[in-house]
Amino acid sequence: MNEIVFFINKVLVAGLVTGSIYAMGAVGVTLVFAILRFAHFAHGDLMTLGAFIAFALTAAFPHAGAIFGLPTAFVMLPAAMALTALLAIWIDGRFYRPLRERGAKPVVLVMASVGVTLMIQGLLRLFAGTGTRSMFIAERKDIFRIELPFELARRKIVITEPQILVILFAVVAAISLHWFLTRTRTGKAMRAMSDNPDLARLSGIDTQQVVRTTWIIAGSLAAAAGTLLSLDVALKPDMSFNILLPIFAAAIVGGVGQPYGAIAGGFLVGFAEVLSVFNWAILLRPFRPLLDGVVELPTHLAFVPTEYKLTVPFVILVAVLVWRPTGIFRGKVI
């Protein structure tokens, strides 16, 4: 019983949290690809940027959270999302749009986004240094320990407030995105432009407005994912380094250009990651008396050591590209 609780904590909770973060990042990557047809490598840094904006706002108003009984950084999230969305539109106008208007090939835009990555990373280090920070400035992280109504379960389910917020936020974001894409004029125009950009243009769809909306969604979801990840773990300027590969893997697994695929891909990659670093020896412990003398149970039994977690999305990425390049939801082939 305790082992199952351990499994819930280490796999179910951790997988949902990681999956939510990846899903929010991957939706942005996939939407930018659907509308602008290039792989936006600066997406991880958009997340870092959003998290730093939330951190700066938290530092400016450290007690704002207490009013709502929520972490201050979470209360600051809407503002951080809005600012990041504006910055994303600005970056597009400054760096990507001039290239598009000159008819640059997608690979040129990919390279430009690598440039934007380096620029954002440099600026963040210049102004914020390289250290790790806690998003909790004037408050503590609430941790909930939920007792299970079983006698055998002495361990408790442990979940932190940021973890609950991540999962709830991702659910709300996914529902809102679905509503937006299927019920609103601009959302439908976005799907139309993803389907057939030429026909969208000659139907009179305002393609500039669609591009702006894409950056608003991608930028604000990136800010939310970055901030929530930093709330859960800590704020690091090199966050994008660890997050870029999983979110691209998630977007590609789900089928590039398919927002629902990106959500599914995010959870798939997230759960694959936690399952491969999970210590399976713990689950085998109850069987120890049976196995005694047959095999010696190791104390640690995981597919991948935690330090090499990043290889998991990499393997998934390669496997998908080899066996099903269009992803689960039949996206566009890059």
């Binding site: 004029r185 139309a192 389907d195 057939n196 026909l199 243009r201 000659l202 139907s203 009179g204």
Partner: protein
């Protein structure tokens, strides 16, 4: 006075000019048909009229206003619609959503237009909530025309609306084109099936190698033995 006047336009895709002097003229309420061999520049002419290509020489007038090199979005607002030769629906959007996208520039209530298009193309009503990509070729063509009609255009440009359709569907589409025209829409269409198309045309334009070859009323062109020999397959 003519409603659409294309005067000696030159245009291309960045390289050498494909159109080397094409002229067309249509009066309001007419059907104009552009015919000619493959690669003659028929599609290119429609794209140039609709502002999808840069016109380097010549002029295009709509109802007396110069619309040369105007952006498609402005032309939609000015009362023009274009159904391209291929990829003319949004495959993952439902039939209804395709029609809604046709009405993107409208800010008024266009519900009555959707009803009219469903009355006009009855098969679409049943399939309203199916992705357009799952429909048959003929029904997709109906979606494409329906989408273009949502703005209640004054001028409809159609590029080979019957391409790849069975003869049954083909005459159905021709009937629809005539009906659209009767409702007051000026139509300029490109057709491979020149004989059938010229039969419903007020004006016919036969292009070859990016230039006008023959111009006349539909009946004149059908009666011209040279046109029949070179372009209508005897």
């Amino acid at each position: 006075m003519s409603f659409l006047e294309v005067c000696d336009i030159h245009a291309g895709y960045g390289g050498a000019d494909i159109l080397k002097g094409v002229s067309l003229s249509l009066r309001e309420g007419e059907i104009g048909v552009i015919a000619g061999p493959n690669g003659a520049g028929k599609s290119t002419t429609l794209k140039a009229v609709f502002g999808l290509l840069h016109v380097s020489k010549g002029a295009i007038l709509l109802d007396g206003n110069d619309i040369t090199n105007r952006r498609p979005q402005e032309l939609v607002r000015a009362g023009m619609s274009f159904v391209p030769q291929e990829k003319n629906v949004f495959p993952s959007l439902t039939v209804l959503e395709n029609l809604e996208m046709g009405a993107f520039v409208r800010r008024d209530d266009y519900g009555h237009m959707i009803e009219r298009i469903f009355d006009f193309f009855p098969p679409l009503r049943e399939k309203a909530h199916q992705p357009a990509g799952e429909l048959s070729g003929g029904q997709r063509q109906m979606v494409a025309m329906g989408r273009a009609l949502m703005t209640e255009p004054r001028l409809l440009l159609l590029d080979e609306p019957t391409a790849g359709l069975s003869p049954k569907y083909m005459s159905e589409i021709f009937e629809h084109v005539v009906a659209v025209n009767r409702s007051g829409v000026t139509v300029l269409m490109v057709e491979q099936n020149a004989r059938q198309a010229l039969a419903i045309a007020h004006r016919g334009f036969i292009l070859a190698s990016g230039r006008n070859r023959h111009t006349g009323t539909g009946a004149e062109l059908l009666a011209d033995p040279e046109v029949a020999r070179s372009f209508l397959g005897g």
